[in-house]
Symmetry: C2
Subunit: 614 residues, 2 copies
């Protein structure tokens, strides 16, 4: 046990660090002329104690899997993030004041451009479920010794995704993650809903299955004690810290109108005087983790199923994912309570511990996938394609996080039939194309799906696979290859008059149309653009060139942002006689064939469109 003197010394050290964190938060934001110093000051004491007393992190090896993780869910407190990095000695004073400037790694909100930042934050309510997902995999798969810490703002607890995170952590009994809520009472434009009612926060969190430590977030000994207890707890434990926004600088403390506002040079001078003077910053010793690494993961070539009879691409997805999981120890699966529909349940048969049930909470699912890839796993997350719209902000942010995640959306388009429009993804291609660096795949048969799923495991970035509910014919042999960025010419001849470009379910309609037209002596080229992004511009251009610019694009999707516009962008201004067949009117329920016809995207409609071009 520490002696009184040692304790005193420790608290002195914490105090010294906390004041430096405050000074540096002000210095960098004042230099930038913008930023969130007051949101940084409220959490400075908590972070000082965490950094010097509890975080086990080798700052020279940010990728070391033994390290603890520290996720700033309240990403706008970036001055504090960078002040912590300064105190840890990994950035210097000169870099600190490049905050928010062009070319600096110290962006307005933290991103993994800095090696010590796991994920981008700044869209509130995200860091928390990301931390939870990371902790879940670490505990279940490895009983990993590292601890996950995440700092939340009080305002962001209004986001439902925070409660999805608490739900998951409570349900899974995660004692290796500590959310710390910085209850500084003030949001951007005024008081928060609960202000300083920390009991109300505690009651909510406890109701989701957690123990809660309520503390004064400026009492260093209380913080120290709470962080120790949280790390050692046998049950999920959160910390609710009552704090003062702007703490330490009298003229901004607990004042409205100071959110997201830098102090002027004069104000900063006064502030620094209150914070011990404009003294140079130091680097402080921190604790490293004990050496540890997860068990080596198997890495074999997946033994993919092959198909000859009609099969739904969603089923082929499940089969292929199970094969990938069986072959590779780093691949994990997540599903939002529809694994018997997406067929990701196949994974449970080969590696039940690597199947993560996320219940009906798509934000939590994508967040967890992002958290899991931080610690070296390769997640595949699945639900109905329509319901990935629920997680679009998380997908957008995952791209900024440089995350490598794979998403599979089933039941796409009107072809699902009876369930009606709420279950029909008709915007998913647009949504997923408009994600930085994304890959968008849309297979039409079982063998193609299997190959693409195997390729997804190796593909970086946000990789999306769109699958179909109904069984579809198998048109490709199991030996064919389907490179990402490629396409397949499934019908062609020297005297083709029109090119049809399509993907997924409507490939089969296009083939039917082509075969029917052939009987009338109208030859058409059919291209299966299974790689919607990147798209095979070369093959498209060649086909369009060979068919006099006559082009029909068919898609089970709204007209905007999907395959049709991807093709137009790829052709970059080529002269076309164009028919774009897409879903124009709001669909209803009906049989798949009826709905494909009603939407004008079945074989008959395609054949008519072709004839209209001749």
């Amino acid at each position: 046990m520490a002696t009184a003197t040692a304790t005193g010394t420790r608290l002195d050290l914490y105090r010294q660090i906390a004041q430096q964190l405050r000074r540096d938060s002000i210095r960098c934001s004042t230099a930038a002329g913008s930023g969130h110093p007051t949101s940084s000051l409220s959490a400075a004491d908590v972070l000082a104690v965490l950094l010097a007393g509890h975080l086990r992190y080798d700052w020279s090896k940010p990728k070391d899997l033994a390290n603890d993780h520290l996720i700033f869910s309240k990403g706008h407190a970036s001055p504090l993030v960078y002040a912590v990095f300064r105190a840890a000695g990994v950035i210097d004073d000169k870099e600190l004041v490049t905050f928010r400037k062009s070319g600096s790694r110290l962006q307005g909100h933290p991103t993994p451009v800095l090696p010590w930042v796991d994920v981008a934050t700044g869209s509130l309510g995200q860091g928390m479920p990301i931390a939870i997902g990371m902790a879940l995999a670490a505990k279940r798969l490895w009983h990993a010794p590292f601890h996950v810490w995440t700092l939340l703002g009080d305002s962001e607890t209004a986001e439902g995704s925070v409660w999805e995170g608490f739900d998951l952590g409570g349900f899974e009994g995660l004692n290796n993650v500590t959310p710390i809520i910085d209850v500084n009472r003030l949001g951007q434009r005024g008081p928060t809903e609960l202000q300083w009612d920390t009991d109300a926060y505690a009651a909510r969190i406890e109701a989701f299955g957690w123990d809660v430590l309520e503390i004064d977030g400026h009492e260093l000994a209380e913080i120290d004690d709470a962080l120790s207890k949280a790390r050692d707890a046998s049950r999920p434990t959160a910390i609710v810290a009552r704090t003062i926004k702007g703490k330490g600088v009298s003229f901004v403390e607990d004042k409205e109108g100071w959110h997201g506002k830098a102090l002027s040079a004069d104000e900063a001078k006064k502030a620094l005087a209150e914070l011990g003077g404009d003294i140079p910053s130091e680097s402080f010793p921190t604790s490293k983790p004990d050496p540890w690494s997860p068990p080596a993961a198997a890495a074999k070539t997946p033994q993919l199923k092959t198909y000859t009879d009609p099969v739904a691409t969603r089923k082929a997805y499940g089969d292929a994912l199970a094969a990938v999981v069986a072959a590779r120890g780093d691949v994990v699966a997540l599903d939002a309570e529809v694994s018997n529909s997406t067929h990701s349940e196949e994974v449970k048969k080969v590696a039940p511990e690597r199947f993560f049930e996320m219940y009906i909470a798509e934000q939590k699912m994508v967040a967890s996938a992002v958290g899991m890839q931080v610690i070296g796993l390769r997640p595949f997350a699945s639900t109905f394609a329509a319901f990935f719209t629920r997680a679009y902000d998380f997908i957008r942010m995952a791209a900024i996080s440089q995350a490598n995640i794979r998403l599979s959306g089933s039941h796409a388009g009107v072809s699902i039939g009876e369930d009606g429009p709420s279950q029909m993804a008709l915007e998913d291609l647009a949504m997923m194309r408009a994600v930085h660096g994304s890959t968008v795949l849309y297979p039409c048969d079982g063998n193609q799906t299997a190959k693409l799923v195997a390729a997804m495991a190796d593909r970086d970035g946000i990789v999306y696979l769109r699958t179909t509910r109904a069984n579809t014919p198998v048109i490709y042999s199991a030996s064919e290859s389907f490179p990402i960025g490629g396409s397949k010419v499934v019908r062609s001849s020297a005297d083709d008059k029109v090119t049809i470009v399509t993907a997924g379910i409507t490939v089969h309609e296009a083939i039917k149309a082509a075969d029917a037209l052939a009987k009338e002596n109208v030859k058409v080229r059919v291209i299966d653009a299974y790689s919607v992004k990147p798209i095979d511009a070369k093959t498209l251009a060649a086909a369009v060139g060979a068919t006099g610019g006559r082009l029909v694009v068919v898609e089970d999707h709204w007209p905007e942002g999907g395959l049709g516009e991807a093709v137009l962008s790829a052709l970059a201004g080529a002269k076309l006689s164009l028919r774009h067949l897409a879903v124009i009117d709001m669909p209803a329920s009906g049989k798949p064939a009826e709905l494909l016809h009603a939407a004008g995207i079945d074989a008959d409609c395609i054949a008519n469109a072709v004839k209209g071009l001749l």
Copy 2:
């Protein structure tokens, strides 16, 4: 007080209705060969009691604002919805068995194609916050006598949006809305997280500021009592009903593997035998509301501010919205805790009661807007454009709900500068274009913004306005008009060599480029495509025709799904020499001008692109 006999008679009636609801739920789903009968059976007793004993609804006047509202958040229980309509006598047996068939109003999940359905449900977790938003406006603006009832599934409480709804209802003290959770223990692919732990549900809901009535959802007297208490409560009150999935049909009760599965004809026969026999359905008397209507709302022409000095379009949005609110009593504003940034706070100055603070919860905000428009209000909801991605599922569903809502997203694009990519909407145009029937507007100056905001108030469907953080020059006089679907030719001459199409912030860059090029004797046409959807295809085609097909499209957005692809779609295969300037690389922080240049979308880059085409 009712006599014992009267009570007995009432309970008998409830029982009779409940069994009919069960029979009809089975009949219609078996006829369809799909659907969710077991999820309907668990809630049949609650709905029978609600329909016959508590709901005040004139079934012949579904648009009567005096009516109660009943929102099936668990939309997959559509057989029960339609069975209720049958019991109310508004659909007949013949229509009931058209369930899920092509051309039927009885879709797989309920939509407002039926006049008694307020909003489409089927994406779980949405009906609840929609109901809360509706109740909030009804109570605050009118002390309306109607009550809002919403039936939730237990599985959907995993969605954070449900807790956003509870948070809002608790915080606002709403005693005019009753969420009823049908705790039937089983989700789609197995047990829910909390199974029958109704105390855990109650603890969570209570922690969010509600009273909770825990009941047996099959005890008619308990249900009756709880519904009475909930309607009369002075505090927010929810009902947690323990139920049995498939209740009433022995061989499906509390069984896994029966979610979303119709009974076969033989099974249905057995089920009907258990439910009192295959007897004809009846219509039952229900209670009408007392006559009531909200006070007549002012409807004047808004007095819009006019601008000559540079102003941010977000500021012009706030000014115009305040003018619209002042002029029209049916317009309301919602904001997700950033009203001092979106400038919707201007509304508070003219009609504070019609400004609804949604805190940082964008799903709840859009849901509430949808709820408010059901009762005749015309909502405008605002946040940073980037954060509407959080609510995309709600926006998608709002289109299926035939909702009329207006969304304003500020701080779009790299031009925001220092805050970095998490705050930059670069996918919002793609996302919003790919919404059925949507309108997408992107003004570049204050006067244009004002006119568009006024037009938005009258525009139906999902109407999106993208605004800019920085002040921009005023280039249009206050007397100009900006019809939706139009565009402005801001630079043109008879010998233009290239057309530049752009909108918003980059209009000013294009003008600078055009003026610089003019000095070098290169004439270009500049089109301000402020109406991104619908787009002014005619003006675009004429310009491109007049400039030899030479076209530069410039946008502060990813290349996919935004203005560039909208223009390509509008030009429908015209031969082009095209340069599409959009944001390709992940942006960082910096000054707006630096970031516009780095992204290749500033005046210099535009001028270079023009030269590259000559």
